[in-house]
Each structure stands twice: as C-alpha cells, then as structure tokens.
C-alpha cells in the first residue's frame, strides 16, 4: 500500500511542485496578477531541454540555465508588451488575468506549431518525449535502486531553493522585492524602483517555473500539455500558501504531492478508486482550502463569512 515508491514519489514530485508553485506565489505577491502564462513557462522550459538534448547538448549545467533564460525572457516580454501597458491604463485584476489567459492560449499554440515544424526537421516524435540524454548512474539504497536523476533533481532543486532563499533574504534586490510585495505604494514612495523590481521578479519567476518544467519532464514526460496538466496542482499548492506565504506554499507542495501519492494509493487499495482519478484529489483539496481557509486578504475577495452568527439581545 504505502511503500517506499509512494514516499519517494511524494518527495520528488513535492520538490518539483515547490519549484513551480513558489514563483507563482511570488509573482502574485509582487504584481497581483494571476498569471496563466505560468503554464507556458513549464511547457516551454521542458521543451528547451528536449530541443537542446536533441541538438546534442547533454550537460544539465547548460540546459538548466538555458531553460531558465527562456522562461525569464518570456516573462519579462509579457510584462512589457501586456501587463505594464494594461496596468498603466488602470486595468483591474480581472482584466489582467484575462490578458494572461490570452497569452496562455497564444503561447500554447506557438509551442504546438513549433513542434509541428520540429517534427519535420528532427524526424522524431516531439509530442511526447522524455529529455533524458545524459545517463546518470543508478544508486542503490537499502536494496532499492534509485535513478541517478532522482538525486540530480533533488540537488538542482536544493540549489535553486537555496539561491532563492539567499536572494530574497540577504540581497538588496530581495529586500526590494519583498518591500514591493508587502506594500507597493509605500515601496514606491520610499524610492524603490518598482518597475525594475517587477521586471526582475518576473524574470526570476518565469525562469524558475521553466526549470521546474524541465525537471518534471526529465522525470515524467514532455508533452505540449505538460504545463496544462500541472495547473490544478500548482494552483492548489499556491492557494494553500494563501497566494501570500512562501513558507506555506512550500509546505503545500508536499501536502498536495502527499495526497496525490500516498492518499491516492490508500484510496486505490482500500476503496478501489482508479489511479486515473488522481487529479480529483487535488481538486477536492482546492475546494476544501477555499471553503475552510479562504485566501481573503491577498487573493482579493469579500469580507463575508458563511458561518451562522447567533444574535444576542439585551
């Protein structure tokens, strides 16, 4: 039922969820935009890996920065062509979200079109590939053979999270980012170049999500829908963090990943729920969080409570 497989899956999937969801929370905190292009970052990050591996670039040390740069570039581009002009015109959060929806559709089919062309060039199936050119040695722990990729991914993830932590807590850029996140108006008054901070945040978030997508693809698979397939889980994770707390987003990654793996296999063993129903777990989790611990302050929303209050009379 719950064996080492489930535990290991929980760990690596949790880590990848974390790498993808943290930038979602962070970019929302700083920009107040629910950014659906996050989905594209994942897919594009994965395919940067696929294409580079196909071109013979084998070293993860090259592929990961390339993925990061691609994601970062798109994120910054979006900021300049879409979000920034819209914000200057005073567009409300709903409009910004819809703009990101438009961009999401656009990029999604750009990827499709690109893969369509790429198939003809590379003469291989690009619509579902695993970018795994490097062969890392397997490691056996207590009788269990673990793929070398597992450790590579954990290592990469650890490095990324460490860098993110140091950046946010120890550098002046990080302090500026946090200042803008906490109170944009105040930050601007106190002389923080908000526009630049927002661009840097976008670059950071786009890049990180792209690397997350790459890692996911190395483990699982790259398809043009890989980002779309992860959106529910990633949003659920971010909502656990209230779209506000990075710490809780990190914890949320493991809650969702644990529910998807450990809880799923329990349900499968005890009640015979088919494994293909896994997404329903994340969905239930999402609804549960929204009902029980709604992210009101940060996520917008109403000062309205569903509970019934007794009316005392004197």
């Amino acid at each position: 039922m719950i064996g080492p497989t489930e535990v290991l899956n929980t760990i690596w999937i949790g880590i990848i969820y974390m790498i993808i969801a943290l930038p979602l929370t962070l970019s929302y905190k700083v920009t107040r935009i629910i950014n659906f292009v996050h989905i594209n970052f994942i897919t594009i990050g994965a395919y940067v890996g696929v294409i580079l591996f196909l071109l013979g670039v084998n070293s993860l040390l090259l592929v990961i920065p390339a993925s990061f740069l691609f994601g970062a570039a798109i994120a910054v581009l979006n900021h300049f062509i879409a979000f920034s002009p819209l914000e200057k015109r005073g567009a409300n959060p709903v409009i910004l979200m819809i703009a990101s929806l438009g961009l999401w559709i656009f990029y999604k089919y750009v990827v499709y079109a690109f893969l369509d062309l790429g198939q003809k060039v590379f003469r291989t199936n690009l619509f579902s590939v695993i970018p795994r050119a490097t062969s890392l040695p397997d490691v056996s722990v207590g009788g269990y053979v673990l793929s070398g990729h597992f450790f590579a991914a954990i290592l990469v993830a650890g490095v990324i999270l460490g860098v993110l932590y140091l950046l946010l807590s120890k550098t002046s850029v990080g302090r500026a980012i946090r200042a803008v996140a906490d109170n944009p108006t105040l930050a601007e008054i106190s002389g923080i170049p908000k526009e630049r901070v927002v661009s840097i945040t976008w670059a950071l978030c786009g890049g990180m999500a792209a690397v997350g997508g790459l890692l996911w693809a190395v483990f699982a698979i790259a398809t043009p829908e890989v980002g779309d397939a992860l959106i529910l889980q990633i949003f659920a994770v971010s909502v656990i963090g209230g779209l506000e707390s990075l710490l809780w987003t990190g914890i949320g990654a493991f809650i969702i990943s644990g529910a998807e793996n450990i809880l799923m296999s329990l349900l499968n063993a005890v009640l015979g729920v088919p494994v293909s129903f896994r997404p329903f777990i994340s969905f239930s989790a999402l609804l549960l969080i929204i009902l029980v611990k709604p992210p009101l302050g940060a996520g917008g929303g109403l000062p309205y409570r569903f509970k019934i209050v007794r009316h005392y009379k004197r």
Binding site: Y304, R305, V309, H311, Y312, R314
Partner: protein, 250 residues
Amino acid sequence: MLEVIDLARYFGGIKALDGVSLKVKKGSIVGLIGPNGSGKTTLFNVVTGFYEPTRGEVWFNGERIDGLNPNEIYLKGLVRTFQIPRLFQSLSVLENVLVTPPHQIGESPLNALFKKKWANQEMNLARQAFNILKMLGLAPYTNIKVSDLSAAHIKLLETARGLMGGAKLLLLDEPTAGVAYTTARELFDFIVKLRDEKGLTFFIIEHRLEVLMDYVEYVYVLHNGKLLSEGKPDEVVEDKKVIEAYIGEG
C-alpha cells in the same frame, strides 16, 4: 444606540485597535478624532463587520452585531462611508445613489424580468435620490459617469450614497477631506438638519477639527488604538494629552 465594549483588532503584531469602549447616543452627532494611523478607520471597519474583532463586543440598538456580515449590519441601519471613496466607476452619479436603498423589488432576478413590478418603485427612488443630490449640490452631474467626476464631488457622492439608504446611524469617514471649506460647512449644516428632521445619528471621523468642533456634541480621541480622551469639544481641545498626541505626530 451604538455601544462598543473593549473592542480590539490586531493585524499580526500591529494592534490597530486595542481595547476601545465608547457609546453613541441616539440623535447625537459624535466626532472621532486622532492622529494618522491611530485606528479610527479600523474602528469603523470592525463595527460595520468589515473586519472581525480580535476581542470585544459591538451592540447596536440592543442587539449584538459583532461577527455579523457587512451586508447584515447595513440592513440593521448602520451605514458607513469609506475614507477612500469606493464608488461604482462605470455607473452614473444617479445610479450610484440609486443602488443603495435596501430590498428593492427589481433586485430579485425573477422580478427583474417584469418591469411592471418594479417600475413604480424605481421612479420614486430616483426622485428621492435626485433630491439628495440636489441638496449636496450634485444635481448638475446626475447623469455623469463617476469616473469623470472631480475628487471633491466624489467625496460628496460617497456621503450622498450613505444618506440614501434606510440608515439610522451613519458612520462617516472623513466626509470633508479634499472638499472646500465652505462646502464642508454646508455639508455639516446639512448633517445637523438631517439629525433634526429625520432623527438620524452621526458618528464622524474628521481631521478638520476647526469644522468638526463647531458641530459635534461629543468627541472621542483615539491614539495608537486606545482611547486617549473623550468629552465635549471644548474640553477635549484643552486636554494636554490630546495636544501632545497631535504634536508628537508632527
């Protein structure tokens, strides 16, 4: 009419409101003053259900109302305006006022389909709304979109909206901020008139003490979330603690 007992509201470590008790009598005009960030707006927010109190009780007309939702509190006759006006940008001035009256027939989606049912009421409310606009000098702007309105007019409209509903007690948050001195006095004259004619009660946050003190009967002074002083306007103005609080703030 309104009684607040040991009310507190914390935001994380910030004690925006820390154990405030006060009373507002029916038919009176009461002021609430205090330096910036002293918790005045937070008090209104907690009283009107916008925030849940961390501690304490709010009683209105002999009924405990803390923990109720903002819409329920409004319907009990406790109406507030916002310090930063929250008008409906895409609607006209008239419509902004017209939204307010509670329990309109055409507000149910089913009745909305049958114009006959709500037409009469709509006409009556529109006339009422127009009269209020006229009294506040907003009549020339009746059919103008709020987004094209000047700041002072926006502030007045916010008050007009407060006056339109079935209010018993009005909480006004800096109704004269950004409004010309004479207009401010006119507004307060109008408030007194409403109190005398309709028996409304007012609880008003104001930074313009020179205007406020001429109209209110009683003043509460907040400082750092606590009640610093209270009393008749002339008593409070003399109070050393109050003067210090205002000077200390700069």
